[in-house]
Chain length 293, copies 4
């Protein structure tokens, strides 16, 4: 069995490592704050002192961080992940960064004789814990086939969608709908509520209708009660929409629904609701409707 | 078994009558153009010369027409449906009209000693033919319970959502998401396509993700090839969005995503694409992206 | 000198009559509430008991009311303005109503042998009092030339823009910019303010720049302090935008900036700011930016 | 009289230098392509081999380039402008870049013992040639007073608006209105045109109304005939809107009108109209309205 490395043990990364360990893999992990990884060390994960050290001991090394800045922090420099790569190694980045950035990184990895795949996920912590995560993969298909079984241990749904950077493109294209669907759902809920229909009834009816995507099925009820901890907060969602808007400008695709939704997320953040799950767009609309405070 | 009446035998209405006949009901029908109803007469439907005549012979009478103007045409006047109603009769309007209009009509029906329910459907011809239609019902719950089995013969999913007019409110609140989801999906598809991912692949990936609502599952593929005949064309969809926007203004609910989508539908119609399924918003976006002509 | 009639002596209408009296005209006026017209009666205006009575004694009769509903109330019925018209008389409606409605009314007037012009104004009470009002006129050019001197006594700027209904079309097209310019100005003011520039300085700089339309020159300072009484409140402005959006749909012109501004006005009204001057859009944006309450 | 330096002799910069020469100043200039500056050399301008060389011989040095990337190219490195600065010198950047970038640059300049001002202009080539340019200045007020007479030779309207970076903030806040006003104007023009009013008449009426800002007065007629050469093309305008949207996100100001206008500019560029004056938004709308091709 291949020796695995994993850099970035946050909310998503740590649970992925846990699934890999449960599947019988040997994993060496690295996180900026070691203490957060104690439960994984207790479960058998090895520790690497730097991203480079992790890459050096692994055949296949993963990274999962929050954004482009965080990615640069773990891959670059003498202690960075890329420095630990060499011929034949495979590097899988599961973060959501800009497709251009991902392609540039793939070129640097290739220059070391290694292979890179971009493998962002569709779904949140809850999807991951239920073992229902979907992984899109960009990069060389043969390389993909080599490590597909490992990705399925995280997944289980794994699909090759194209060349380097194209999986993150698809991820961003997906998240456009995730955000916009939540806003449209909120508009419908408030229309119903102000028509005299209890919000709870409105949510039930909407989630029994043709618009009930899996995303809305789990996140729609948040308009009744926001979760204690955000699954994906407004800051994070805006980060993804900005990647989409940036792509739209560069590629020449006007994105009217995305642009409008993005401004509602700006409002959410300005109203100090940015740490809440992005379903909080319903609260922005409610205030604009003269409800709540 | 109750004697049923049905006014409005268009694409949806005729198929509903067919299901009622198949379930063993006696149905008297009326349509402005009789010839279109021949196949139902052949299948055993009786003919009523006027909406009033249909209402007079039926215990429960249904109407299913395209908009407020068409509804007024069949209910009002000496030959109208309301004139044929009397104590104890039940009138079920399945059209999508404004909630206010529906409530006013319910009051006129009540003044005749009869009962009215608004019962718009969620789903299209294809959903209906597959026997998967969902019906939302507004009005008195006891009256609803009385005729629930009949509605289930059309349905099969039937839910009481509130008082008079509240089912059409929910229908409109649902269609907000139907239209906006299609626009957001199109934005994602074009982002992917201009990133170099074949449109077909993009659709597959998106429809395997958390955003795949039942509506998108059947309508999403239209961005690859528009159907020969529209399931619900851009004109019709804009009619529903206008009802939503009108509600939003009266009730005080800003609807940013709906408003933007509505303008894209205006563009579709101005570009002479209004007779196509409203999935044609993808074509509007494509032209704005410099694709197609 | 021609005998004049004037129906609708509100904020705008009464001041127009005052200017006509000052210019030496004989004016017979009507208003729903007579007491509000006392100052004009004191200044020499004659009183008509009904809109019809006013039309009967006048050669040229004007109306100036708030919307379509109010217009119908004064023109229709046995006591209505149209009933008092006859061959050779000229009727000038200065209200802002839908172009279609205006054209229909012109046809009814023509059927009585009289002539109608639509003559909406660009400007507010303050413009009117300063004698800087601009009047756009639709209808027959010869008829227009006949009464042009009278309109100039109200105006002074008077322009013939086209056939019946086309002046109200131009008025609505103008108000699109009035509303949208105010929103864009507010966006700029808040960007500056959150950059650390005092709002007062921002307003000064903006009003010294290329964007300073006459409208912004007098209304821009409202973002510093709203006027005690609205010059044109959010309800009224939304009424005009709805006319524009309705025209856009019927004629096939997508209006993205108008649609977005209209939703902000809906928010203003839902937040109980609808009675304030429509410059209150700045307050909606400020709350969305986490400022004020 | 102070010795002046000028880096960046493009469309705007070269005409500024010309005005300074005409006012009797000694100017040393630098441009990436020397040949474009020949007419200024003929008019008496001295040549500097590098931005650094220009800064070394000047007491007050100006820069005027198209964007952040171009600015970095002239200020940084051993041959860059900053390397030529020293105690007591004054550096005035007239480019439109992000306020944050401008402040960072001011700090670097201060570290050399020199002073920086940001001094973006409001107006275009035509405004400049007519001697009607307005200059906003950010930075230390005393430094500003020192060079105010020189700026007036370019201007003539010169205003101190705040600390470092705040003039570019105001410039960006102004350009929000410039872009949005043009879109709203276009919406009105097309509404009028589809109402049957000749576009020429519509433009005349609108430019005689309260919405006629100086910007619309000169750019509005472009909807009748686009200029042979863009005064400020769609690419450039989108660059400025992106700075605004970026500020909005960072500072927490939702910008609905700006966001929508920005997407129309994306469409213009995707439709290969990006090199035309940004008034070309009217053409995007016209195509969406089924007009033109």
């Amino acid at each position: 069995m291949a020796k695995l490395g994993f850099v970035g043990l946050g909310v998503m990364g740590s649970r992925m490592v846990n699934r890999l360990l449960n599947a019988g893999h040997t994993v060496t992990g690295y996180n900026r704050t070691r203490s957060k990884a104690q439960w994984l060390l207790d479960a058998g994960m090895h520790w690497g002192e730097t991203p480079r050290a992790v890459a050096e001991v692994a055949d296949v090394v993963f990274s999962m961080v929050t954004d482009t800045t965080a990615l640069r922090a773990v891959i670059a420099g003498p202690d960075g992940l890329v420095a630990g790569l060499g011929p034949g190694k495979i590097y899988v980045d599961m973060s959501t960064v800009s497709p251009g950035e991902s392609r540039e990184l793939a070129a640097r990895v290739a220059a070391k004789g290694a292979h890179m795949l971009d493998a962002p996920v569709s779904g949140s912590v809850s999807t991951l814990e239920q073992g229902k995560l979907s992984i899109m993969v960009g990069g060389d298909r043969t390389v993909f086939e080599t490590i597909k079984p490992i990705l399925e241990d995280i997944g289980p749904k794994v699909n090759h969608v194209g060349g380097n950077g194209q999986a993150v493109s698809m991820k961003i294209a997906t998240n456009v709908s995730v955000a916009v669907q939540m806003l449209a759902f909120s508009e419908g809920v408030l229309l119903a509520e102000k028509s005299g229909i209890p919000r709870k009834t409105a949510v039930e009816v909407l989630l029994n209708s043709v618009i009930a995507s899996p995303m809305l099925s789990y996140r729609g009820p948040f308009v009744l009660e926001m979760p204690g901890e955000a699954w994906f907060n407004a800051h994070m969602m805006q980060k993804d929409l900005l990647l989409a808007l940036e792509m739209g400008r560069q590629l020449g695709v006007p994105l009217p629904a995305t642009a409008v939704t993005n401004e509602v997320l700006t409002a959410a953040r300005a109203m100090r609701l940015g740490d809440q799950d992005f379903a909080v767009v319903v609260e922005v609309l409610a205030r604009l409707s003269g409800l709540n405070k």
